[in-house]
């Protein structure tokens, strides 16, 4: 259909004089910035940063920044995918344990068969994408809400993680893979430290920024991005104008699978071994990061940058409590209050922006 666009020249001669397009009042930059979904999260992130900056002197150092950025990146990498998926109108509750599944698959497949680590990395990628595909396929095929489908996948994977690991290794953790061929290069890709002169960052921080950039570009600058917003915003109407909603949704689930795989590889290369029981509960952390970042629970609205800000809020809070020397037992309470505040700031700013039409 797009080919017909080029053939349709505006018929200037026959049309009556039209009101000049340039004469339209443009919204001010301020109003346009306020209309972005991530503004509330940005405000909240600044407030939380200022708060810890004030109460915890150690929080002000560059190594501290490196620490909380690393913590943020381990949340933010998967949260990018989860945010895109939520904009597309679906949930994924299996993303937390899928990270563990990916790490376990990679570790055990290459260790048991004494293969190069990279073989395990590739096998694990296939498995992670398959998990995403199955989630997506079941959701679009059956019409069952993704909340239920991925809740089932969550339990299935959680059981498999423990059961299969116990069956193969006889323990609840994988063997140490650091002695295998290819480990050094895999570690360089997934878990090395990058010295930037003034600050040393974990490589995941850079990968995270790259994923956020790609996610943002896809969402705002490509046809697929348009389709993601439409699939989540109004599925029936998107379908009626020819958007392949089912493919978009399956693709989004697979993107979450890919990012879960990436984080799984980081965990494996960073610690050389993986506990089979970890990852449970992280799916909510990713979803919360996306929501704090402005993604609507009902779909059709949100941003990748927002999910990154949500992850930064999380990372700063977890590490900030430690830097402030408080009892970490209070962490969850503090976190809950922070989240509620972030979401309320978000809502307030959105309403404020909506009034400035």
């Amino acid at each position: 259909m797009s080919s017909s666009v080029a053939t349709q020249q505006p018929a200037q001669s026959s049309s009556p004089p039209t009101p000049a397009a340039a004469g339209r009042p443009q919204k001010s930059l301020f109003a346009r910035v306020l209309a972005r979904p991530e503004v509330g999260a940005l405000a909240a992130a600044i407030v939380i940063f200022a708060f810890f900056y004030a109460v915890a002197p150690t929080f002000r150092s560059l190594p501290a920044a490196s620490t909380y950025l690393y913590a943020s990146s381990t949340i933010g990498i998967v949260a990018v995918g989860v945010a895109l998926l939520m904009i597309g109108g679906e949930f994924d509750l299996s993303s937390g344990v899928a990270v563990t599944t990916a790490a376990l698959t990679a570790a055990m497949s290459c260790y048991q068969l004494s293969l190069n680590v990279w073989v395990g990395v590739v096998v694990s990628l296939v498995v992670a994408l398959a998990i995403g595909f199955v989630n997506g396929y079941l959701v679009v095929r059956t019409g069952i809400p993704s909340f239920l489908v991925t809740l089932s996948t969550f339990f299935v994977l959680q059981g498999l993680n423990l059961g299969v690991t116990k069956l193969i290794t006889g323990a609840v953790a994988t063997p140490n893979v650091s002695g295998l061929d290819g480990f050094a290069s895999a570690r360089a890709v997934f878990a090395s430290d990058i010295d930037l002169g003034i600050i040393t960052l974990k490589i995941t921080v850079l990968w995270w920024l790259a994923f956020v950039a790609v996610g943002t570009w896809v969402l705002l600058r490509t046809r697929v991005g348009n389709w993601i917003f439409a699939s989540g915003g109004n599925e029936a109407s998107a379908r009626a104008v020819g958007v392949p909603v089912k493919k978009v949704k399956i693709g989004l689930f697979m993107a979450v699978g890919f990012l879960a795989w990436f984080l799984g590889m980081h965990l494996l290369m960073n610690f050389s071994s993986v506990q089979a029981g970890i990852g449970v509960g992280n799916e909510f952390v990713y979803i919360i990061a996306a929501v704090v970042g402005g993604a609507l629970l009902t779909g059709g609205y949100g941003s990748a940058v927002g999910s990154a800000l949500g992850a930064v809020i999380f990372g700063m809070t977890t590490q900030g409590i430690v830097f402030a020397g408080w009892d970490p037992n209070w962490f969850k309470t503090f976190l809950g209050a922070m989240l509620l505040m972030a979401v309320m700031v978000n809502l307030y700013i959105k309403n404020y922006a909506a009034q400035r039409k």
Partner: protein, 271 residues
């Protein structure tokens, strides 16, 4: 307005030419027959009105023509060729565009993104090729203005427009992308009098531009203002099929309201 919409309509349309012909079309959902034995012809430059109460089979009829659900009986011909659509994309590719009552647009997306949704302009043909956002904004803006729809800002979410304007943007979009047959599903149902007027004017403009229009409604007054041909459905069957010259508004209203049944009912309830 009429001139400018004609400039953009597909140029190979000849008034009176049959675009869509349905013969004995029916649809069963399991044991339930939602539609049976419906004959309908959509001609270029004419508005065919399909009237009926709730559950009469109007929605099933549009779903068949627009490709959302394939029919299970009879034949559907588009431009003389028999078709069996399995997706809305297939129907769109033969020039059949549908504008739905409540789901014409994606409310949270900008006007220009809605205008080009599903037919985006890209700067290349490879996957993930960037969108030509500047061109799309500009085209959507000038097209809407030319077609007599003024929106304050092409970048505002379309949900901030009025219901009538939203319908008009959806119709303008269909016409711009070369629709030959335009199906309007209850376009005036949720609108006030003034907003309905805007949509009806726009429907007439599409007709005058040579498009075949199927206007689905349960409001005989709106139908009679723009219609050339009227079909009334009741419980999945056709109970009236007349040209404008053969039927008056009163007969249409009476038939719509139940006709015979209503007469019997008023007799029974007589005090």
């Amino acid at each position: 307005m009429t001139d400018t919409i004609a400039d953009h309509a597909a140029s190979d349309l000849k008034a009176g030419e049959s675009l869509v012909e349905m013969e004995g079309v029916g649809k069963a959902y399991g044991a339930i027959r939602a539609l049976e034995g419906v004959n309908l012809t959509v001609k270029a430059g004419e508005v065919t009105c399909v009237l009926g109460d709730n559950g009469a089979g109007k929605s099933t009829l549009i779903k068949i023509i627009s490709g959302l659900h394939p029919h299970s009986e009879g034949t559907l011909k588009v431009d003389g060729k028999e078709r069996h659509f399995s997706s809305p994309r297939e129907a769109l590719d033969t020039g059949i565009a549908t504008v739905y009552q409540d789901l014409a647009v994606v409310g949270l997306m900008e006007v220009w993104r809605n205008f080009f949704l599903g037919s985006e302009i890209r700067k290349g043909r490879y996957p993930l090729a960037p969108l030509d956002i500047k061109a799309m904004r500009q085209i959507a803006d000038t097209e809407l203005q030319k077609m007599g729809i003024t929106v304050k800002d092409i970048n505002q979410p379309i949900g901030t427009l009025s219901g009538g304007q939203r319908q008009c943007v959806a119709i303008a979009r269909a016409v711009y992308f070369g629709a030959r047959v335009l199906i309007l599903d209850e376009p005036t149902a949720a609108l006030g009098v003034k907003q309905s007027g805007v949509v009806l004017k726009y429907t007439a403009a599409a007709r005058d531009a040579g498009l075949g229009v199927v206007f689905i409604t349960h409001n005989p007054h709106h139908a009679y203002m723009v219609g050339d041909h009227f079909i009334i459905l009741k419980l999945g069957r056709r109970v009236l099929d007349k040209k404008r010259s053969e039927v008056g508004l009163e007969e249409l209203t009476a038939e719509m309201a139940g006709g015979q049944e209503l007469a019997e009912l008023s007799h029974e309830l007589k005090r």
